[in-house]
Symmetry: C2
Subunit: 187 residues, 2 copies
Amino acid sequence: MQSIIETFRQIGELSKKNEEALLRAIKRREYPPRTILQKQDKISDKIYFVEKGSARTYYYKEGKDITYWIALENDFVGSMSSFFMREPSNKIVETIESCILWDFEYEKLEALFSSNREMEKTGRLYANYAISLLEKRFDHLHFNSAKDRYEILINRQPEIIQRVPLGMIASYLGITQETLSRIRTQV
Amino acid sequence: MQSIIETFRQIGELSKKNEEALLRAIKRREYPPRTILQKQDKISDKIYFVEKGSARTYYYKEGKDITYWIALENDFVGSMSSFFMREPSNKIVETIESCILWDFEYEKLEALFSSNREMEKTGRLYANYAISLLEKRFDHLHFNSAKDRYEILINRQPEIIQRVPLGMIASYLGITQETLSRIRTQV
DNA sequence: TCTAGTTTTTGACATATATCAAAGGAAGTT
DNA sequence: AACTTCCTTTGATATATGTCAAAAACTAGA
């Protein structure tokens, strides 16, 4: 079974027929590490589901590279605001490790949603689920210390430390690399 | 024209018939200031659209009142994670000023989405829009100074300062009331 | 195995923001 | 007008985290 289908099954129900239509609409591809998937200031035409590997979205603020999102297996990555709102992306998307990704093209995805009531509903439910994830992430950042945020992260995704450079994790958590390094040794 | 219909029109298109069905599904009610709309640890059965007044969601962390969301006119407020994911709410919802709100009940809203393809789509588009708002809010908190966050806020919603107590605004911005007070005098 | 490049750690110091405590101001009620 | 209560400001000090610079530890090619 494709892991992407498993993931969708957890959110909404799809008939066999719709699962097949979904798989026909998306493409499974391999990407080397550090491949740019989305440039800044362009409207995003694709979002990606990570089957294997890791990827991130990031931007530059005062010359510094700030990671907004890190996706490991079975998570989506992409410039979501740009993709859904059809506005230029303020973020860059790139692979971190070597990846197997499922590419979702905007036009194909919208066509799929439009073709079919059940797909449309799954899309809505998935968006609601994403809202709840973002709300939780915001809560973590909102009034927790750097150390607490780090501990929340390693409890959920302990392997992230081995797989993703420290600087990316630090800015993802909203702190500098030096601070994260210090926190890490004292834990 | 109802402001709520105007707002929906900006996101998705609704037929006259669907606009009427929507208005039949929701209730317009007045609430006094500081009315609790949602208790903590209960699954949320309603979200609210603010026609007039202001409302917020908040929670307690180490005894301190932390505001997560502040809604003025033409915005939604509610415990969204709880409402959509059907899990106990970690937040409390209350009016700040005296309000006119449109109540959206979970069962009625789902029934409306299910009854009708166009409504379902509007629901999906609205959720996508909410994702993009949350992403922007996260970006503001992520690597901006307290002062920058304050300035971003007053540029967008200058009237919030007159209408909402400083302590609520401070925790909404992720800072203490004392710090916000100092920032405010030096601007 | 050596070298060059990248990533992580460490050190000294600077700064933003928090904390605790108290004083001032508003606003509403009797 | 005086009294409460709530909200905001101010002051003194503490603390977490950032900044800049350099050293150390990895990594991967040649």
